[in-house]
């Protein structure tokens, strides 16, 4: 027992002695002695002195306790870099530290750059007279941090007498030094690169964006940016494109609120890019761009967006009544078989999707002839708007039980009470209902729709079709659910008084929609002509309807047809030819020629362009909630903003070209021009006061003042 214990003790002590010996050996063989500073230790190491060579690398070798770190030349949001002071070095000339590329630390969202565990900071050194002994003596001041920060001051000395070094020098040291010399970024002439960093002001977080090409791909890439100003950046987001040959990096700016944008744009920014463990360094200029290129988005993401966007369309005020009525119409026939309900919904879904496909085909066809169509383009044709207006009017009136009509099934929809006894008719009607709902949905630009359509319009015909089909799928999602689980319909209470009230309410919504379309039309054709036509039409209806209250009944079908033809012969040319002449707002695009714009901008003015249209509901919402509030008006006045409105209610290829130049295909489009943003910054589709204030401050190049 005793012996075992003693043996154990002996083993332990020999182990300790070996440990101590090794430890000592390390310190002895190194350049200078380790200096312990509690959170780690530091020493100087040097290359072997060779005759005929006067330049050497010296290294500050840190060995830190895990968790503790020191900082890079640009420490990030906190920290400061190591500095050294020559105390009484002899016979040498010391250059600056050549910083190896750092690592990124995250301290609860505060990003800092530096080194942990072990690092060697190389310093170039020149021996003035190689025949004499030299001596390095440095005072280093640095900060070391973990959960607390401690400023440190350490004095290090290393005699460089020839004999001394040759004996003491260690291949291990050289290896160590070379390891970190290899981590010093290679400086690349930036003129060869033809690259830029793009500053993209966004509503939530503005970003810096940079694209990097690499033929051999990417392996653990990282990037560090150093601007002339205090720039706090979030972790970079990497996006690999072109078969991993290109990397798009986005760095969100955290302190945009305290930044002087003009300073950011005028100063070269140092980029340190790391790939395959090697770093390059170059200077790039930052350029502002007002619109983000959506090309980087992955196709499946766009498809997903399309589905979501399509789904959101269901809740737009102009679509909601149509689809709700569809469900209610089926409530009336709760005795029907599920199979029938299923078929009915399926035909409705088909209607929605085919409408989207027709839109896509139209876009592709017109593109083939060199004509670009935007989202909601059909509302620019007065004849189209007019027909839709009529149909909606009839629907809403029938919902209020004011007229009982039996229109041809291709105009009417399943909402019309009298049709539900014919199954095949119902299916066709469901199909039309789907088509119709889609057409009505188009001017209601949901924010997501804008992005996807823009993407679609920039891509191949096949992708256009796929994206539109996905939108159709998204829009028919609620219907699909009903088609799969038709028994869900039994969950809805039996039709009773509430359906009547709901129908009235939906009719009211439809009335509002009609009113809106009426306003759109007034902007497209003269009011008096419009009223005349509507009068004629209602007369035609009075003749055609078999309403009990009026007791007018036409028995002769041919007579009805003749009346219809006459009415249409009168109406169509009027609608087509009596379009309103050029309105002053269309001409306002000419204000935007470059020379005038430059004149405004050089006078320190801000130009705010609002591309809008009567049929664009989102534009109206923007106006009502943001642009025409007293607060924003006052702000525009104070900031000397020139407000230019461009009306796109009617088709205008120049305006469309203008919209396309911002990588958009539809409206709302609001652009801010300023001294530092002569190309304009596009605002998000849904405006907020804050985003306007911010972008205007950015365009001025001034600090963003928080309101």
């Amino acid at each position: 027992m005793d012996r075992k214990l003693i043996l154990n003790k002996i083993y332990f002590f020999t182990f300790l002695i070996i440990l101590v010996l090794f430890h000592n050996q390390k310190t002895l063989s190194a350049g200078s002695n380790w200096v312990d500073y509690e959170q780690g230790k530091v020493r100087l190491i040097a290359e072997k002195i060779k005759p005929g060579n006067s330049e050497y690398y010296l290294g500050l070798h840190f060995d830190m306790i895990p968790g503790w770190k020191i900082f890079w030349r640009s420490p990030g949001e906190a920290g400061y870099p190591l500095e050294f002071k020559d105390l009484k070095s002899k016979n040498i000339f010391l250059r600056d530290i050549e910083w190896p590329y750092p690592e990124r630390f995250n301290f609860s969202g505060i990003y800092t750059y530096g080194y942990s565990n072990e690092v060697v900071l190389p310093i170039k050194l020149e021996i003035i007279d190689q025949n004499l002994d030299a001596n390095v003596s440095l005072e280093i001041n640095f900060l070391t941090c973990s959960n607390v920060c401690i400023p440190k001051q350490v004095v290090l000395t290393l005699p460089l007498n020839k004999e001394n070094l040759e004996i003491k020098n260690h291949t291990e040291n050289i290896k160590l030094l070379n390891n970190y010399i290899n981590k010093i970024p290679n400086k690349v002439e930036s003129s060869l690169l033809n690259k830029k960093i793009y500053f993209i002001p966004k509503s939530d977080k503005s970003v810096l964006k940079i694209k990097i090409d690499s033929k051999q791909g990417f392996n653990k890439p990282d990037i560090f940016l150093e601007a002339g100003i205090e720039l706090n950046l979030d972790k970079p987001k990497f996006n690999y494109i072109n078969n991993n040959q290109q990397l798009e990096i986005e760095l969100p700016i955290k302190n945009i609120g305290n930044l002087n944008i003009e300073d950011l744009l005028n100063q070269p920014t140092v980029v340190t890019f790391i790939n395959f463990g090697k770093a390059v360094e170059y200077n790039l200029n930052v350029e502002i761009i007002g619109n983000e290129h959506s090309s980087s988005k992955k196709f499946w993401v766009i498809i997903l967006f399309s589905i979501i966007g399509g789904f959101v369309l269901n809740f737009m005020p102009c679509v909601l009544p149509i689809l709700s009525l569809k469900v209610i119409s089926l409530l009336d026939k709760d005795l029907l078989k599920y199979k029938f309900i299923r078929l009915s919904f399926l035909s409705n879904i088909l209607g929605v999707i085919s409408a989207f496909l027709i839109l896509a085909l139209l876009i592709i066809t017109f593109r083939f002839f060199g004509i670009n169509l935007g989202w909601g383009f059909h509302f620019q044709e007065p004849i189209f708007t007019f027909i839709i207006l009529l149909i909606i009017l009839i629907f809403s009136l029938s919902l209020f039980d004011l007229i009982h009509i039996r229109l041809p099934y291709w105009i009417s929809s399943s909402l019309s009470k009298n049709t539900h006894n014919e199954d095949s008719n119902n299916l066709k009607l469901s199909f039309c209902n789907g088509l119709f709902a889609t057409v009505l949905a188009t001017p209601c630009t949901a924010p997501i729709i804008g992005t996807t359509i823009t993407f679609a319009l920039q891509n191949s015909s096949l992708k256009v079709l796929l994206i539109f089909a996905a939108m159709g799928l998204g829009m028919s999602l609620p219907l699909i659910i009903f088609a799969i689980f038709p028994n869900l319909i039994t969950l809805i209470p039996k039709p009773g008084k509430w359906t009547i009230y709901l129908k009235k309410f939906l009719g009211f919504l439809l009335m509002l929609t009609a009113l809106w379309l009426f306003i759109v039309l007034i902007n497209q054709i003269d009011l008096s002509i419009l009223l005349l036509i509507l009068g004629l039409i209602s007369l035609g209806f009075l003749i055609l309807t078999k309403g009990e209250s009026l007791h007018i009944r036409m028995k002769n079908i041919f007579f009805k047809i003749i009346i219809l033809i006459i009415v249409s012969i009168i109406i169509f040319p009027i609608v087509v030819f009596f379009e309103k002449g050029n309105r002053e707002t269309t001409a306002s695009l000419s204000y935007l020629n470059t020379s005038d714009l430059n004149k405004y901008l050089s006078n320190g003015k801000i130009v705010f362009v609002d591309v809008t249209a009567e049929w664009c509901i989102t534009c109206k919402v923007n106006k009502y909630l943001v642009l025409e509030t007293n607060e924003v008006k006052k702000f525009f006045k104070n900031e000397d903003v020139i407000y230019i409105e461009i009306d796109w209610t009617k088709r205008d290829t120049k305006i469309l070209d203008f919209i396309n130049s911002f990588d958009r295909s539809g409206i709302p489009l609001n652009i801010v021009y300023g001294k530092i943003a002569p190309k304009g910054i596009a605002l998000p589709e849904i405006l907020t006061k804050e985003s306007i204030y911010r972008v205007i401050q950015i365009a001025k190049g001034s600090k963003i003042v928080k309101e």
């Binding site: 420490p75 949001e77 906190a78 920290g79 400061y80 301290f107 609860s108 505060i110 800092t112 900060l143 941090c145 959960n147 607390v148 920060c149 401690i150 400023p151 205090e230 302190n255 609120g257 305290n258």
Partner: protein
């Protein structure tokens, strides 16, 4: 004789009783003090776990610092309140993290009883002022430790360090490292110190 004995017995009893009472009192006092001190340390828990009571020799009435206009601020201005003095720097990430919580704390307690003071130890005053501005610390003023005289006098080599002084300006204790000063633990501790 018998009477004498009886007297002696009586006297002895009295002494015994007195001694017993004394011991009892001592024990009670001991228990009380234990209980009391236990009560004291029980406030140093959770977020305040790192709070250490100190027996500091540095007199608070001597200390001073400067505001952004270089006006001298004396500690005496704060007498009669519990004072929390936090030393921070723009280069110290843990400090930046905890400052907003001190800002919130200052708003949650009665100004006449408690006040927080944050003192920057940056050598670059402009930079720390910018950091102070960007943090939007509306309930705290900007102060700085000119030439770092204060940290060297108070023997502070690690930041963040927070010192709490009692109503008479005596140092109660220090917390080294960051803490959530807006936590219930911190509020409990300060409220206890106010009483």
């Amino acid at each position: 004789m018998l009477r004498d004995q009886k007297l002696l017995k009586n006297k002895l009893f009295k002494i015994k009783f007195f001694l017993f009472a004394l011991i009892l009192l001592a024990i009670l006092f001991f228990l009380f003090s234990i209980f009391n001190s236990k009560n004291d340390t029980s406030y140093y828990k959770g977020e305040m776990e790192k709070f250490v009571t100190t027996n500091s020799k540095y007199k608070s009435e001597n200390i001073f610092w400067f505001d952004s206009n270089d006006k001298k601020i004396r500690f005496n201005n704060y007498n009669g309140k519990i004072v929390l003095v936090n030393f921070w720097a723009s280069w110290c990430a843990p400090c930046i993290k905890e400052l907003p919580s001190i800002n919130m704390l200052n708003n949650r307690l009665e100004k006449s009883q408690f006040e927080s003071v944050i003192i920057s130890i940056d050598k670059n005053r402009e930079k720390s002022k910018r950091m102070y501005d960007s943090l939007e610390l509306n309930n705290l003023n900007y102060y700085y430790d000119k030439k770092n005289h204060l940290v060297s006098y108070l023997n502070i080599d690690v930041i963040p360090t927070t010192i709490i002084y009692n109503k008479n300006g005596k140092e109660i204790g220090r917390l080294t490292g960051e803490a959530d000063w807006n936590s219930s633990d911190a509020i409990k501790l300060i409220k206890y110190l106010i009483k």
